[in-house]
């Protein structure tokens, strides 16, 4: 049953099908899923890396790191590493890479996402020692730096590069644009040699097609499958850090009334949605981050499905003169996650049952960004935006800075008290930090209610029987080829 596939190469080539072609392999765009999934930890590597399962930072190009001052961290680097073009890896290249990703005009995606607006000062003290200074104290700087992929100094600082040089276990062998991308094993890799001599990426937009390629043995790995795509036995589910939620424009009536926002939370039958549309691993969500992320609040219970309560709240608000009949636009982005259309339709229906007027609007990525990011669209009335948030970093700060501060890039409103809580939490570390964030999530559910969180999603990866791989929470963003071994 292997018609037309390149079965012969299966032994030493790992064939992977992605949902989309990476637009570029630029390392500083690593936080873009399409790019990072190929680049990160395969072609290039960061200084440190977070273990998605344990949440601990692990050494990679840096062997040790410590805070050496209020605003300074010092890293000790490996001395036995060379880039795939043969140039040695030094602290200078690390400093260069940080500078390039964070301080340049390239407009790298990590810049805003991982680091705030402030610049970093990275200095190579000697070949193996690097210091990084921040403007304000930053307890999780090493975690942030795990998003900066290290490139040699020969890399352009004025243009993004399509095919980067890195220290990773693989390097780009060929890229037939539009068709396939091949990586070859980097024989000078400083660590253990990976099992597969090369990896071949292809991309198909349709999940069913990706699953079909897997079942017909044209690929060994199919990424980003949905529950009905048909991978069958070959589909492996994994908790993928993604949380689906409705975000309210809490500054526009009637969503500016907390009772309405609460009513919506009561109106959503989360168990019903997950039970009928998704496979078992999906969990009802009570907060924006899944377990495993620092700050996850164990004790939060999801909102109950209570239509009567919802109706009562709406009526109460109506009685107080809140214009609850104003049409609320439920905005969802096409193919944000599997079955997004279905979920949106269910939400629309359920919100309507609570007595609200809801219009559904499915938009494309560019349009949805208008709703998602500041400056928000103002003239379209109250908006409930369906968002999917994935905290790749494992620390709640990445979530709350974006989604909860009054002027957060993806936050529609906040309160001064809440802002103070958020700022304070960011400065703490260790258990204190975790406790502070747990508090924050509880507070948001009680006092703010900007979100109606719905589910912690599971991802599905399709694996051929010839391949051995255990997906983890980061699999959706980063597929480390080195983790794959032939089965048996």
């Amino acid at each position: 049953n292997s018609g037309g596939s390149t079965g012969g190469a299966a032994g030493d080539t790992l064939r992977i099908v992605l949902p989309q072609e990476p637009p570029t392999l630029e390392p500083c765009e690593g936080s873009l899923t399409a790019t990072g999934i190929v680049t990160r930890s395969n072609i290039t590597e960061p200084l440190v890396e977070r273990n998605p399962t344990s949440g601990e930072l692990e050494a990679l190009l840096a062997t040790e790191w410590e805070a050496t001052g209020e605003n300074q961290w010092t890293f000790t680097l490996r001395d036995d590493v060379t880039f795939s073009d043969g140039t040695p890896f030094t602290a200078a290249s690390a400093a260069f890479s940080i500078d390039r990703a964070v301080n340049s005009d390239l407009g790298c995606n990590v810049e805003g996402y991982v680091f705030g607006d402030d610049d970093l000062v990275a200095t190579a003290v000697d070949d193996t020692t690097l210091t990084v200074e921040t403007v304000r104290p930053d307890p999780i700087l090493p975690l942030r730096l795990s998003f900066v992929e290290i490139v040699p100094e020969s890399t352009s600082v004025t243009e993004k590069v399509r095919e980067p040089i890195g220290t990773g276990p693989y390097s780009v062998a060929s890229w037939e644009t539009g068709t396939k991308l091949t990586l070859d094993r980097n024989d000078d890799y400083w660590g253990d040699a990976p099992a597969y001599a090369s990896a071949e990426y292809q991309w198909r937009t349709e999940g069913t097609v990706r699953a079909a390629m897997l079942t017909s043995n044209e690929v060994d790995v199919a990424v980003g499958l949905g529950p009905d795509d048909g991978a069958g036995e070959l589909g492996v589910d994994y908790a993928n850090n993604e949380t689906v939620a409705l975000r309210f424009s809490g500054d526009i009536a009637p969503l500016d009334d907390i009772r309405v926002r609460q009513a919506i939370n009561y109106a959503i039958d989360r168990d019903g949605i997950l039970g009928s549309l998704y496979s078992d691993g999906t969990n009802v969500a009570a907060q924006l981050i899944p377990t495993g992320v620092v700050g996850f609040n164990d004790s939060l219970e999801p909102w109950e499905f209570d239509l009567d309560a919802a109706k009562a709240l709406v009526d109460e608000a109506r009685a107080d003169g809140v214009p609850v009949d104003t049409e609320i636009t439920l905005v969802a982005r096409n193919s944000l996650f599997p079955k997004v259309t279905e979920v949106s339709q269910v939400l629309q229906e359920q919100l309507s049952q609570a007595g609200l007027t809801v219009k559904l609007s499915m938009v494309d990525t560019s349009q949805s960004l208008q709703y998602q990011l500041r400056p928000f669209v103002l003239d379209e009335g109250p908006i409930a935006l369906l968002v999917q948030h994935g905290n790749q970093a494992g620390d709640a700060q990445f979530t709350v800075d974006q989604y909860m501060t009054t002027d957060g890039a993806q936050s529609t409103f906040g309160t001064p008290e809440f802002d103070t809580m958020l700022a304070d939490a960011g400065l703490k570390s260790g258990d204190e930090r975790a406790a502070a964030y747990e508090e924050i999530f509880a507070y948001q559910n009680e006092e703010i209610v900007q979100f109606a969180t719905i589910a912690h999603m599971v991802g599905q990866i399709g694996l051929a029987t010839t391949v051995d791989y255990t997906p983890d929470a980061a699999t959706g963003d980063e597929i480390r080829l080195a983790d794959f071994v032939p089965a048996g």
Partner: protein, 336 residues
């Protein structure tokens, strides 16, 4: 045998041109008018395929008009505990005879309601582009010269314009309402009619009977109305049915790309597009709406083909013969 009218005798001299009495004739003409329509209907009944096609189309139209009322909110009523029920089972009630979809809604009700949406996209889109394209093309072809050249180049422009871009722009700048989808589909299909109508009209305007009309002083617009349009019309109608099919498909492609009809509205195209994910688990989600498209298209096309023959005096005989004999007759090799 019909009673023979008194022969208007032209005497050998031909001098007596006295107009004969006119009563009999007037009667005759009045009679013949309703006759024409009735006979078209009778002609239709004689052709089994065309009759079947007409019946299908009437049913589709009736469904579009009355169906949504009959179905009430059944089409949007979700039941998350009864999703993807297979068809042809009455266990869950008549609503689920065609199964249920991924949100537990009745497929039957959704198909019925989608009929109206689908037709209210396809029919206006086809009619608008048919009307504009044909009239424009006929006008350009009749007058020829610069008007023709410019029109054709405009047609080229529209044709080589990526219609998807247009769709995204309109749907982005405005919103993906039915009216906007109609607008886009209508606009992008105008050149097809324009080109065809122009070619026919350019050829027709050089015909002698058009020259004859000119010699009476008939104004160009009247000539277009009287001589060009009736000849061009059947062609355009046939084209319109092909386009009808195209528009339904284009609408479903838009849905495939996520910019078509927006839920909770539902069209056949949208149903196929959304059902495709369930092809392996619930084939009926996309098969039934697909069948609806196919059947409607085929019926429309058959009827148009029939109409084309029925309205063409030079072809009408094909329809008037008893079938068996007719087929025997058609052999071009026939000798005796």
């Amino acid at each position: 045998m019909s009673p023979q009218l008194p022969d208007p005798q032209l005497p050998p001299g031909g001098r007596a041109i006295a107009p004969p009495s006119t009563q009999a004739m007037t009667l005759n003409v009045v009679e013949s008018l309703p006759d024409k329509k009735a006979s078209l209907f009778r002609l239709l009944l004689r052709d089994r395929f065309a009759t079947a096609a007409a019946v299908v189309l009437v049913l589709v139209a009736l469904t579009a008009v009355f169906g949504p009322v009959l179905m009430g909110d059944l089409a949007t009523k979700q039941n998350l505990s009864a999703t993807n029920r297979p068809p042809f089972s009455l266990a869950d009630g008549w609503q689920f005879v065609l199964g249920s979809d991924s949100l537990g809604r009745s497929m039957l009700a959704r198909l019925v309601v989608a009929t109206r949406t689908t037709l209210s996209v396809a029919v206006p889109a086809v009619l608008i582009s048919l009307l504009i394209g044909s009239l424009w093309g006929v006008w350009a072809g009749y007058h020829r010269g610069r008007r023709e050249t410019i029109s054709m180049r405009i047609g080229d422009v529209i044709m080589s314009f990526p219609s998807l871009l247009l769709a995204v722009v309109v749907l982005y700048v405005f919103n993906p309402s039915i009216a906007n989808i109609v607008l886009i589909l209508a606009l992008t299909r105008i050149p097809i009619y324009l080109r065809t109508a122009r070619a026919e009209s350019a050829e027709l305007q050089s015909r002698t009977f058009v020259d004859a009309a000119r010699t009476f002083g008939t104004a160009p617009n009247a000539i277009i109305r009287r001589h060009v349009i009736p000849v061009v019309l059947p062609t355009m109608l046939t084209l319109a049915t092909l386009e009808f099919c195209y528009v339904m498909l284009a609408e479903s492609s838009l849905s495939f790309l996520g910019i078509g009809i927006q839920p909770p509205d539902v069209s056949w195209g949208l149903m196929v597009a959304q059902g495709r994910q369930y092809l392996q688990t619930a084939w009926w989600l996309s098969l039934f709406p697909g069948l609806a498209i196919v059947i409607t298209t085929v019926a429309a096309n058959m009827l148009a083909a029939w109409l084309r023959i029925a309205t063409d005096p030079a072809q009408r005989w094909r329809l008037t013969l008893p079938r068996k004999r007719f087929i025997a007759r058609m052999s071009p090799k026939e000798v005796k």
